[in-house]
Symmetry: D2
Subunit: 254 residues, 4 copies
């Protein structure tokens, strides 16, 4: 029972700490950035400078969106349990789910299937788009409620990918799907930031299954900033008052 | 009610996203690392290259400790709710509390009080140490169950601080407290990683109150790596079996 | 924006508190049990004594299963963040997801579709079972790793339903599906506790969509008991040691 | 390592499930209410009918307060991660901390110290009240932002305690502290619901350390009701819009 179970992540002795075969103190601390270390933990090799720069750009892109469900939640919990920063951040991170960030995984899965499939990409794009349209579901990675006609982060992400030499098959396929979607819809729908990030993360070898995990790391950084502001402004109490007054009680009908 | 409440964190228009006064797309994405961005969100200015390197070293130091409560919890939840990576990570992050990481805040608060106080530091060190010893409480930032006589991460963190030109008053005070603690205890107790990180974060201007928040960001990176391994090894199910068999039922006495 | 939004749940004045149209102090406190109150909050009417007894039996059935992922998680977090009981319980409750309790919702959805559909129930059972078997997926509400050939809680739940006069169409359909499943599988698979509870909750009018929420309430009770034991035995620390030693480090292959 | 560790909570065989020495199926299901079962898990004996009624009243009292931080958080997470009810509820339960419910523990600890101490209770009350007043801290269990001059739930809780024959030393001491507080403050401060509940829980033998755990169970019931309303009204999206518009962006000063 569990006898064969191993971990390849970390071990330590009195004088050493080893992380995935590297000496933490002498080979990693001071030598690799946090972003590079996260890549190392998730992808199991130290990234190149270009790969690190791409991952940095992706993490910077989605860390902070102002007052969103995750940051409102973190503020309310920070106000209710003041000393326990981790509780406020954990509560906020629970919002990083299917509605907002899960689209990254959905888009990534499509791109991976298309590139790995080795099929006729014209047919692939046509089928993928018509399939979503037939089900009247939004294509993951497309559309944005505010940024129209185009999400300004997307060309920047593609430019960074080009600068870093990772502007490959996944980015190409995403653009191709975009063109096909516009054609079938008869109007322009932006590629959104989560769509572009899905493509870039695939280009640098991040598995689709852990993309949401990287979004959690990124969002944790954003929430730390909200906790700092919450401590100064005590918005949590005011948000509570505001919501309580904005949603009046109505006698239920029997 | 709330009318005067503002946020200085972020806003967006159809074509722009602004984070703390900077254009996200043109000034931040591709220009600042994720670590630099987190510093910017928490300390409200873009860090220097040296400050970024110090923060990177701190975040790399505490991201990963192998199988600890936080990673065991993340694995168990990942096994129970497979698709919801954020739930597994949030559960694990709830462990980043007073017992393990809170010592960073405790140590940081002492260092800040000593440096800001402008008092006689010899007297300060003597009083702080004797106070903890009188209460028979452990000094936050000192001692380690495995790393004896010294935590190998600490000299490395101090060396990085020196290389980056931030080896200042807080590091000096931590060393002075360490010497006084050894004198009063009559034996050597290591400065541990959380103690050294508290000093380094103070050197680069991170407020004590958000140190735990940065630990959460760091640990989120570590947990992403555990989720990847969990998906491959299914350790959660085996951990459950192991614990269930190791803790047998005993009839309660009436 | 939100102007039409109302809540029918609760309101208060200086001297009164109203919950769903009832005076909390004079009509609910001391008059309705907690189980009856939860039913009232979820189903929007005070239950009969029989309905309350059925819900009590369901909540008692799934509150406590010994050392499971949720209770192990709660113990580990309780050990890491000792004073914050709610963090330990919240972490453990995150395990009440698709793998263990979600089957209740799956089974409930099938039963509701069958009863509401008004179709030929023989055909319905045949199709549902053959559909799951064709996809090689387990039927939600059936099978148990330990309780074979039969889950002992199930006949007891059905007996309570009979005593309370709610042994109706949903229970009947569950038994019919069970017979069809045994026929198609060529062997006996037990109806499990979550399957029987799904049927009983439907009998007393609980919507499928909130069944998991009731399981969270129930499990919260179980976890409170684990926190009490954790404070006495400090199992969290020992679970950590045990897991750490049982899963040795293995050098990753480059 | 852990060899002596035992659990007294639960065990099972193919045909039986035992919880704290009782047969779950034959002795508990259908025989004990959920409230009685929670008492049994936490206090390690089946409560009397009167004790159950007192605990029911306490759980009913604090389950539901309309739109509060915990219910707003649960709604926002329910909107972001629609299928995962447990994530929404766990996030909301993280608010059951020191600010709102922790006062129950603080009040309970004072009452226990007074009753167990066997000291002169006049002196005890005088010292406890003057101590809090000297530190300018609010007395836990006293005061309420809305319910003035008196919290209407408190006399009802005391009446239920009297009806159930558990109106003993803890309730008496709470009233005595209340009189002393009014005397020293020169004005009337209400005993609040958490104060009265602390006294009642002590009367029925609930340890102070798990009172917050029972509040979590109670609140879980309340949050289940909010999830049901959230699914119908989609308030989460509107709360988000409302907060985003009410807290405008302000350019940070450099």
């Amino acid at each position: 029972m569990g006898s064969a179970l191993k971990t390849q992540i970390a071990t330590s002795t009195e004088t050493t700490i080893t992380v995935r075969g590297r000496d933490l103190v002498n080979e990693l601390m001071g030598h690799v950035s946090f972003t590079g270390f996260v890549y190392f933990l998730v992808c199991h090799r130290v990234p190149t400078a270009d790969e690190t720069r791409v991952l940095d750009a992706c993490l910077v892109t989605i860390a902070e969106h102002g007052l969103t469900p995750s940051s409102i939640v973190a503020r309310l919990i920070a106000d209710s349990v003041p000393g326990e920063t981790q509780a406020a951040m954990a509560a906020g991170l629970l919002a990083v789910g299917s509605v907002f960030v899960g689209t990254m995984e959905g888009c990534g899965a499509i791109l991976k299937r298309g590139v790995d499939g080795g099929d006729d990409l014209d047919a692939f794009c046509r089928d993928v788009v018509s399939d979503f349209r037939a089900r009247r579901e939004p294509m993951p990675g497309f559309g944005h409620p505010i940024h129209r006609p185009d999400d300004p982060r997307v060309p920047r992400l593609f430019a960074i990918a080009t600068e870093c030499g990772v502007n490959g098959k996944y980015v190409a396929l995403l653009k191709r799907i975009s063109a096909e979607l516009d054609r079938q819809a008869g109007r322009h729908l932006t590629i959104n930031a989560t769509g572009a990030i899905a493509a870039l993360l695939l280009e640098i070898g991040v598995p689709v299954e852990i993309m949401r995990g990287l979004a959690v790391v990124s969002r944790a950084g954003g929430l730390a900033g909200h906790i700092v502001e919450e401590r100064a402004t005590h918005s949590g109490r005011q948000i509570w008052n505001m919501v309580e007054h904005a949603i009046p009680y109505e006698e239920p009908k029997e």
